[in-house]
Structures are given as structure tokens and as C-alpha cells.
Symmetry: C2
Subunit: 391 residues, 2 copies
């Protein structure tokens, strides 16, 4: 089976899953318009509306580009034409409709509701994220291709470091390696407050700086309009450098963090880093389908508390309250590993675990790996030296 | 006056302008939560809600980061606390409210409306874009700093070209130049269907490929999830290469396109390129405060038709129906230069003009410059060789 055939088969699976989920919640139809969900359902990106009834074939109401050739493709200029076109084809109007209410704007959503003569919509954002969190075999293959490139780039990181560099200069060299290995550049995330460019590189004290954005760690950034990550400071002897750059080499991403040090770094940095590795190893031992995501948080926290490292865990001045998250077409998918999570691991969930510490005056330590949940456990997808790597 | 003092003064001007506009449309208060508008009103980015009454001082309801120190800063976890906190300070509730209804999600907007006990909101997205389209002296200074760096990077482009490169490899070299000159990387745009990474580089026939996104030209891209721009094809002798990479060196951006050719290119490419330059020169002669944006489109179109180049104007298989747009904190601001635009030029509007052609089998030609509207005309901000530059 070639890639195109495999993709076609996979799109049928995704479509059936969505229709099954729609019938389970008694919804008549679904309209998807965001890039990520249109891509998930069609394998391509168009500006328009993917319309799926709970039973039957999808319609593609396309504004751009020219040349979309699916069955049931209808070119439109505005959403009001969706219902006109459905009417002209004797398709009955949905009485209940799924819309991406957590993402599309109030204006756009109100206009779509109006078009269908409805007052409310069920939440397609949450439903699609739930469906997308369970990867198909096709998607898992793509994730693994991505992981191999992510590893290949990280292996080259020491070769582009030079003493006296700023953190931004070091990051620029890594960005170039990434792009030459096929990184798409654009780094997709879900929701507001996720502004980022190509990932995060944190060196020394900058790792302590709180950020407005919802990532594990912060950093001052180099501009007031993007207060995150590398700040332009020269990297100093003894500092640790945490590299958490995007694994966006296929549409399905991986997430991986490794730590480098300039020369020898402090004992407490090594100790905290080892606690992070221990948390990963312990999680590998016990996580399997059915494991509560809140338990994965607690397991991490227990080891942190036992090692007296709580004040440094997931930041110092501002501490993130999660240790991991799903990964896929967006970098922040469900489940989220938080103390209050109600989710459990299921086969074919792909998630990143990232217990990290910020050691004042030294920098950030700890690793992040991406795992796939198997039938009986979890499989590590990002395989690379885990100790602090001396530059 | 140092930068911080100048910024403080400028923030007061922006605040007064918004309050004046609010009173003009009889709105009691405004809540802004998107990164760009929070930055515009405060000079920094926080995750939270900027609350401004039509008269009086703003409140900053902040979720993250720790350490925001404006007067009237209140830390909150959820939007419902905004009204609780206002109540506890005896601030009267607004009866009419501006919200960013064209950008914030249906879910978020509904929740904010609920919090204030309101059914509808006035459109802060449109109002803020209108206000932001008229730049202050401070903003114009930033735009000019950006233009100088944009020019400096473009001057170096020939030095990184090597025969036999793919379009993606060429773009990667330019990206690195950009980053080393202070490009923030992240490239902010308004609305859906504006997916892009660092800008667009189009070589040869790839310039003809339609894209789902709302940019002047398309390109196949190198991944089905980002169908835009460079496609990975080797650049060939005689092709033109259109470089339209982001001018994001300060928060206020510039937009500039230049064309390069590998060796000699076709006569029709040169001819069309000259028409683009002529359109710019003619626009420089006649544009001033009061000029209709639709006239700027018509003026361009007249020259295109006269030169028999309509089939190539703004694409071939898919043609964009605009020749320019405002530029600022986002790359696509008002006004838009379309045939149906109702907007007119006003002093201190900054806009990009980009009459472009796609010549089949050759590539894209035409230039883009950023201009500031002055009291009596327009001033070119992006100053650099405009002819096709031979590589």
C-alpha cells in the first residue's frame, strides 16, 4: 500500500470515528473550519467548511484554493451558501450542530449558527481534540518519522555551539539545523497564550523569568511583544542550557527536551536532572492503558518532594501545574497531566512527559520525551542520550 | 526623552484615542484580551484582560505572568472575577461593552458576556484595527527602525545564494540572516487563513500554485499541512525568485518584496516588473490624505490592462483582488486596497503596495514597498534597488 492509499484508508477511519462520536452524543452534523481539523479530516488544507452529517458522505464547501477535487466539493464565497447548497441538494438541515466553539471567533460562530437557524452549538473543539488524541496506525508512523528527525537534529546540537555565543545565536544555529532536516517552521498550538517561535532555548538565569504564555517554563525573550525563551544574554561557563525546540518534521509532532552544560555545572543541577530521569523511568514502568493522568502527576510530585526539590519544580517564581500533555497536529493536545485531570491513558495516545526544574543562577534541567501508549504499557519514541551533555 | 518615557507618553495617547472612540459610539467599557491589543494598550504582554472604561483609569486583570506592576493590577484566575473585583471597588458595570468579537472564541466571548450580564457586545476587533491603523510618532519611529533592518537583510541576499540550491535551502539562508539581524521569528497576522512561516519565497513555476491562505500569492509549500511558499524544487537558470520575507525586526513591521533572477530572465518578466515599478512611482505621485483606497486599486489595474498583463496580475490560476494593505503590529491591517474599499488614506497610515505578476514558466515579478502617509503625500519607507537583481 503506498502513502496515498494508506492516507485514504486512514481518512475513512477518522471519518467513521467522528460520525460514531456524533451519533453517541445525538448530533446531526458537524462543520469544521480550522486548518488543523480540516487537515485531519481531509488530508489537505482548504479555506472553507468541512460539513459532515452523522450518517452519509461529507461535503466540502471551499473558498480557496482552486482545484479541490473531492466528491461533493462546492465552491462558496460565504457561509450562508452552505445552507443554500444543502437545500438545493435536498439535504435535510441539522437540528443539532457541532461547531468549533472554543476556537472560531464569536463573529464567525454566530454567523454559522444564523445560517443554520440555530441558537446554540455543541462543542466540536473538545470532541475533535478527544478524537485526535487517539492516534491511528498511520498517524503513529508519521510521529515516528518525526521522532527520528528530531533526534538527528539534537545529535548535531553540540557541533554548532561556540563559547561566547548568546542564547539567541545558539538557538539560530539550531533553527537552521531543524529547517535543513525538514522542520516546517510553523509550530501549531491550541488556544490563546501559546505564542512561540520554533521552540524554547533557556540558558542560565533566564530560565527563572515568568512568561505570560502557557508553556512549562518561561524566559524573558528578546522583545516585549514576545516575552518567552532566549533573551540575548551571553551563555556563561557552568550554566545549563535547556533545549526544547519543536519536533515539527511531519504534520504530527514530537516533543523532546535535552539539557547541555558549558563545562561542569553544579551538583544540585545534576541531582535534579537525575530526579527527572528517574520520574521518566518510573513512569515507563507503571504507565499503561487505564492509568490516571492525575496519578502520573502525583508520581512525579512524590519524587520531587522526597528530593526536597519542590521550590525548583516547573519554575521558581512561577510554577506550572502540569508535568505533561498530549502531542499531535498541535503541540498541546489532551490529555494533560495535572493533579486535577479526570483523563486516563488509552492505547495510541501520544503524550510528552516533561518534569523540569529551574536551579537559580544555573539554569533549567530535566528531560522531556514523547511516548505512545501501547496495549500493555508505554513506548518511548524520542530516544537520545538523557544525561546532561557537556559542551 | 528616553525610550521608556516616550513609550509612557505614547501609551497615554493610545488610551485617550480609544476612550474618545468609545465615547463617540456610546460604549461604556472595553475588554481586550488578545496579545496584540494588550500589547498596544500596555506596552507589554500579559495573559488576562485589559479593562478600560470610557472615562477614567484602566484595570489590568492578569492571570500570568507574576510581577505585572501597573496601577490597578488585579490578579485573577478566571474572567468571572473581573466583575467581582469591579463590584468590590464600587465601579459601576458597563451597560454596553466592546469585546474582540472577530478574534476571541465563541466560548470565551460568551463567558465574558455572561460575566457582565450582557447579551451582545460591540466589535472591539474592528475598532482597535481602525485606531491602530493610524500610527503615532513613536510607532512610526519603530517602523523606520524595522525598515532599516529589513533593507540590510535584503542587501545580503545575493551573498547567500548558490547555484543548484532548492528554493527551501535559499529561504533557510535568508531566515538565518533575518534572525541574526533581530527578526523575532514569529510573524503576526490577523484572522484565520493566514498561516505562514517567516514569509514567502517563490521561485519559477511554483509561483502559479494556488494556496488556501489569504496572501497575495501562493506556492505549493513543502508539506500538505502548510501549502504555501517554497516547495523544495531546485532553482533553475532563467527563473525569477520573489522574496517577500517578514520585516518583523521591531513589534511594528514593514513589508517589502524584491525579485532576483538566476542569470538572464525573459523580456515579459522584465516588462511586467517595470509595470509594477511604474505603479509604485505613479502612486507616490498622486497618493495623499483623502485618496480613496479603491482608486489606488483602479490606478494599478489601469496600467496592468494597458500593458495587456491582466492574465498574470496577482496570480494566474487564482488571482488576489487587492494590491495593498495596512501594516503594523499585524502584517494585514486596514486599509485594504481593493476595488470595493470604502476607506481613504489618512495621515500616519502605514501601508504596503504590492502589484505583482506571475509569468508562467518564469516566476513571480513586481515589487512591494511600505509607505507612510504624510500630511501632503506618502513617504517610501523601504528603500532598496527595485529592478530585478541578477544572482
Amino acid at each position: 500500500m503506498n502513502h496515498q492509499e494508506a492516507l485514504s484508508k486512514d481518512l475513512e477511519i477518522r471519518c467513521s470515528r467522528l460520525q460514531e462520536a456524533m451519533r453517541a452524543v445525538n448530533v446531526d452534523a458537524c462543520v469544521l473550519t480550522t486548518t488543523v481539523n480540516v487537515f485531519y479530516m481531509t488530508g489537505c488544507v482548504y479555506n472553507g467548511y468541512f460539513y459532515l452529517p452523522a450518517e452519509g458522505e461529507p461535503f466540502h464547501f471551499v473558498k480557496r484554493p482552486e482545484g479541490i477535487a473531492f466528491d461533493n466539493t462546492v465552491y462558496v464565497r460565504k457561509p450562508e451558501q452552505i445552507t443554500e447548497e444543502l437545500l438545493s441538494r435536498d439535504v435535510s438541515f441539522p437540528k443539532t450542530l457541532l461547531l468549533e466553539t472554543d476556537v472560531i471567533s464569536f463573529g464567525e460562530c454566530s454567523r454559522l449558527l444564523n445560517t443554520f437557524g440555530l441558537n446554540t452549538a455543541a462543542n466540536a473543539s473538545v470532541l475533535m481534540r478527544k478524537i485526535r488524541s487517539i492516534k491511528t496506525a498511520f498517524e503513529l508512523e508519521q510521529v515516528k518519522v518525526c521522532a527520528r528527525r528530531h533526534e538527528a537534529v539534537y545529535k548535531l546540537i553540540p557541533s554548532v555551539f561556540k563559547r561566547g555565543m548568546t542564547d539567541v545565536e545558539f538557538q539560530i544555529e539550531i533553527e537552521k539545523l531543524m529547517r535543513l532536516h525538514g522542520s516546517l517552521g510553523l509550530f501549531r498550538s491550541y488556544g490563546e497564550n501559546m505564542d512561540i517561535y520554533m521552540g524554547s532555548l533557556l540558558a542560565g538565569e533566564n530560565a527563572e523569568v515568568p512568561s505570560p504564555f502557557d508553556f512549562a517554563l518561561g524566559g524573558a525573550g528578546s522583545s516585549p511583544i514576545l516575552p518567552l525563551g532566549a533573551s540575548g544574554q551571553t551563555i556563561q561557563e557552568g550554566q545549563t542550557i535547556m533545549v526544547d525546540m519543536a519536533g515539527n518534521y511531519t504534520p504530527w509532532m514530537t516533543d523532546m527536551t535535552r539539557v547541555f552544560s558549558v563545562g561542569k555545572t553544579s551538583d544540585i543541577a545534576h541531582q535534579a536532572h537525575q530526579v527527572s530521569i528517574d520520574i521518566h523511568n518510573h513512569t515507563m514502568d507503571i504507565a499503561k492503558p487505564g492509568t490516571k493522568c492525575s496519578d502520573l502527576y502525583e508520581i512525579a510530585m512524590e519524587r520531587v518532594v522526597k528530593a526536597n526539590l519542590e521550590p525548583y519544580f516547573m519554575g521558581t517564581k512561577q510554577q506550572a501545574k502540569f508535568v505533561g500533555h498530549g502531542v499531535g497536529l498541535e503541540i498541546n493536545e489532551p490529555p494533560v497531566l495535572t493533579p486535577r485531570s479526570k483523563e486516563v491513558l488509552e492505547p495510541n495516545i501520544v503524550f510528552a512527559l516533561e518534569p523540569k526544574f529551574v536551579i537559580p543562577e544555573v539554569g533549567a534541567v530535566g528531560i522531556e520525551n514523547t511516548y505512545a501508549v501501547t496495549d500493555g504499557g508505554i513506548e518511548k519514541l524520542t530516544i537520545l542520550e538523557e544525561n546532561i551533555i557537556k559542551l
